[in-house]
Amino acid sequence: MSIEVSGLNKKFGDFVALDDVNVSIPTGRLTALLGPSGGGKSTLLRIIAGLEKADTGSVTIEGVEATHLPAQKRNVGFVFQHYAVFKHMTVAKNVAFGLEIRKKSKAEVAARVDELLALVHLSQFAHRLPSQLSGGQRQRMALARALAVEPSVLLLDEPFGALDAKVRKELREWLRRLHDEVHVTTIFVTHDQEEALEVADEIVVINEGRVEQVGTPDQLYDDPANDFVMSFLGEVTHLAGTAVRPHDIDVATSPLFAGAVEGTVARMVRVGFEVRLVVLTVAGEEVSVVLTRTHARSLGIEEGATVWLTVTAGATVVPSMRPSLAG
């Protein structure tokens, strides 16, 4: 294990940011810290980087006890949400910074900077100032700067959070391929489940300062530990005391199966190829259901129709944490 975090606690005033966090981050993998804003994931990342001090607990990086090591001795690369570019230095100077601090020879620095700028596709911008770059380009520069010092781990704090949707999606794919090339142990913080599912090898779900679940994207999606993880990774609705995904509900126009819940279609919205229903059950529950356009047409569903709902066989279900209305 590359990074070992144990018994971490952190408070800001009376606000508990981290509550007894224990995580192991595997070497050479791309791990996402996923959770809602203010849930403590950035704090955890900053503690690993040494930019924040934990109240109690320990951090080990590649077998080295790092809890009391200052940031400049940890050999981690850190990429900030708002890039933290050195505004007064050219792109090349930014990337060279860490190498110059380490007193590398001029030739060595120049060669390494060239190599990295090529890696992040910024070679022709080497002598520009960061203010002349777009957001996406600045973030790639920041990444090159962090990679230049050959860090043992690369930490990215909401790296694409300040970018617009299109660039964000592009950079996300690019990061995945970059990681496949460079293989440095990487942790990135995100509150976007799609980003985590698409890019990460492993996801750590953090909420209210606690680790809710650790696993691969598939494990998390298919086998969520609880209602929170399930709802954070996708849409969730509640049917007869269980949490279930809206597309995992079967709709029938007659009571075919035992245990089917009867209800009326209260609303029906067509979005592209899918149809979204809100079904009001006889118990008074509002259930969201998603089905394809063709399926809905074949059933002849319309607003006001009576339908019977069952959870699809083999679907992911979790006991609902909400008190059931049917009680």
């Binding site: 940031a71 933290a84 570019v85 601090i101 520009r128 777009s134």
Partner: protein, 290 residues
């Protein structure tokens, strides 16, 4: 892997989005306001200040030449420059350090200190002078006799003039640097730290370049204020001809002794420097804030 990025690379570099210029809606009111503001500034500032130049050069360059031939005035000008130099150096060191402490650290009493640092801006220069005399006066001051025992005379001597000048100009540097430091934020410093930079390297290579222009403005304003200090210096200097008389004191002395030409000429020199300071700031400031 380059496919999705090609267009990004080939695109011309987008310039950082600048704030929209204000939309001007011209109505009769606009012109009235413009006229009122311009007239007010013309009568209050522009015309009177320009008269100093006209009065100085009434008889050609003679008055300036006469000024520079008067050894007492030359000594006074030298003293003013000397004092202003020390005031700028001291206030720059103090201002940069204090600004860093105020912006980057939390400590008990910070709010009180922050408020007290503004005090010199609103204290009467005569009170400043009096305060320094009471504390450091050679005979009756609180600390003065002790320091005099060590052979250090402050009041009626150059150190006193430097202290008085430093006192009145003290907040200027801090007020220039604090907002810049706040705006720059700490992320660049943290990035440098995570790349292995020590505290000193971080300050020299990241912090200092980012507050460079704040320091330049601070220096220019401190210089203008220091060269022009009058009241506080008058109290602490003793106004000894050729020894502790600064340029501003010369203006008063010459005018009261009916040597108006010399008074206007010295005033013109001082005004030139302060106007030059303002123009320099006005010219370099927009570049940095663009």
């Amino acid at each position: 892997m380059a496919d999705t990025l090609v267009h990004d690379v080939a695109a011309p570099p987008p310039v950082e989005a600048s704030r929209r210029p204000p939309r001007v809606r011209r109505t009769p009111t606009t012109y009235v306001l413009r006229l009122v503001a311009t007239a007010y500034l013309f009568f209050l500032v522009a015309w009177p200040v320009s008269l100093v130049a006209t009065n100085t050069f009434e008889d050609g360059l003679g008055s300036i030449r006469a000024l520079l031939e008067d050894p007492d005035i030359v000594v006074a000008l030298q003293l003013s420059v000397y004092v202003a130099f020390f005031s700028v150096v001291i206030n720059t060191l103090f201002g940069v350090g204090m600004s860093l402490l105020l912006v980057r650290y939390e400590f008990p009493g910070k709010r009180l200190l922050n408020a007290l640092l503004d005090l010199p801006l609103s204290v009467s220069p005569i009170v400043v002078g009096l305060a320094l005399v009471l504390a450091y006066g050679g005979r009756n001051g609180w600390l003065g006799p002790t320091l005099a025992g060590w052979g250090l005379d402050i009041i009626f001597s150059t150190p006193g003039i430097i202290m008085a000048t430093t006192f009145v100009a003290l907040p200027l540097m801090i007020r220039e640097i604090v907002p810049v430091l706040e705006e720059v934020g700490i992320e660049q410093e943290q990035a440098a730290q995570s790349l292995g930079a020590s505290g000193l390297q971080c300050f020299r290579r990241i912090t200092l370049p980012s507050i460079k222009w704040g320091i330049v403005y601070g220096v220019v304003l401190t210089l203008a204020r220091s060269l022009g200090e009058f009241g506080a210096v008058k109290v602490v200097s003793g106004n000894v001809l050729g020894q502790t008389r600064t340029a501003t004191l010369v203006v008063e002395e010459k005018y009261l002794n009916f040597d108006q030409q010399a008074a206007y000429a010295t005033a013109f020199l001082l005004a030139m420097v302060s106007v030059a300071c303002i123009v320099i700031v006005a010219i370099i400031r927009p570049k940095n804030h663009g």
